[in-house]
Symmetry: C2
Subunit: 207 residues, 2 copies
């Protein structure tokens, strides 16, 4: 694992880490193989021992992102503890926190323009991420009478869309709009209204 010497030891991961750093700092277009190699202190030809090319390296960064994402979301949900509602809101906060703390991963996952069909492992990891959110949605709405219970897939998709939208529009430097409040509060209040619409929390005061 030592860095000196002819053999790097863990170049594959070092390249992924360099990719994440570059993407986070300069956007997906700011990432180049040459610079990743340089960051990993290795010749420009070395990356090709581990990745077939630029796209493959970004895809691996995205895949690891989904992996970590799933772990984080699951930890936040904590099997519905202390109660399904609190656990669900914890997921929302965790979503935003992930986008912030793992900007490189997030961009690789959602903004790098990867063509999903080409990489089954990536598609698989992304699918598992969706599954976790769906499970959380199902848990939160499980106590509703069947005829009023929403489709968990649909429920999860709505919340995911709002979360993603908040990140893209308000938690970045996008020219779209200035956020009326911190993204965390914006998302939490939005989800709260949505959950009220589903009858999952009582009609309370205005948001």
């Amino acid at each position: 694992m030592g860095k000196q010497g002819y053999h790097h030891g863990n170049l594959r991961q070092a390249l992924v880490d360099a990719t994440l750093r570059l993407i986070a700092e300069k956007g997906p277009q700011g990432f180049t193989m040459a610079e990743a190699a340089k960051l990993a202190e290795v010749s420009t030809a070395a990356p090709y021992r581990h990745f077939s090319g630029r796209e493959a390296l970004i895809a691996e960064a995205a895949r690891q992102g989904f992996e970590i994402f799933v772990t984080r979301i699951e930890a936040a949900f904590d099997a519905g503890r202390p109660d399904p509602l609190a656990a669900f809101m914890a997921i929302a906060r965790s979503y935003l926190a992930f986008a912030r703390s793992n900007a490189g991963h997030y961009v690789a996952m959602f903004e790098s323009g990867l063509t999903p069909g080409t990489n089954p492992e990536l598609a698989d990891a992304a699918g598992r991420a969706q599954a976790v959110l769906t499970r959380a949605a199902a848990a939160l709405s499980a106590h509703l009478p069947v005829e009023r219970r929403p489709s968990a897939v649909l429920f999860a998709a709505h919340v995911w869309a709002m979360s993603h939208g908040v990140v893209e529009l308000y938690a970045r430097g996008a020219p779209a709009a200035r956020a009326p409040m911190p993204p965390e509060d914006l998302l939490e209040s939005g989800i709260r209204v949505y959950l009220r619409g589903l009858g999952l929390i009582p009609p309370d005061s205005a948001p």
Copy 2:
């Protein structure tokens, strides 16, 4: 306006159109000055008579996008006709339609990584877009008693976030997730739940 001859006639707009086409087809990174010039049937130096550089050209594409966006949204809202709710849902549909039909504009506006501060005209156009959505939200919630009336800015931000999230996650080839239904229906049902949460439509059957 004739294309033949030494002078192009309307090169500035032709370059913007070329930019939109390239961005729509290959993403913001697929756009190059050289190719835009080629599409406009002009030498590679000509664009610099009209734009200071690459960034300025993309920014103009985005600005025009916001301009059209405002027009479309306003037309869809139609001053709240036939009723505020129907008008509001028309905006949502219009948002998705715009993202589809004006993919180049949409990408330039939201996915090109423009730094907003640098271009006041762009920031202004974006601000007006937000204002339209806010006005629609205010109109829809105007009849609520004051203490239950949500902040229109907040309301608009939530709906915009969900709309944007649906576009990004489900109306593109993103590796994120397969949509459980057409994006239009997904967005409409999501907004419906949200509006129910605000007390703007009665608690009906499950979505």
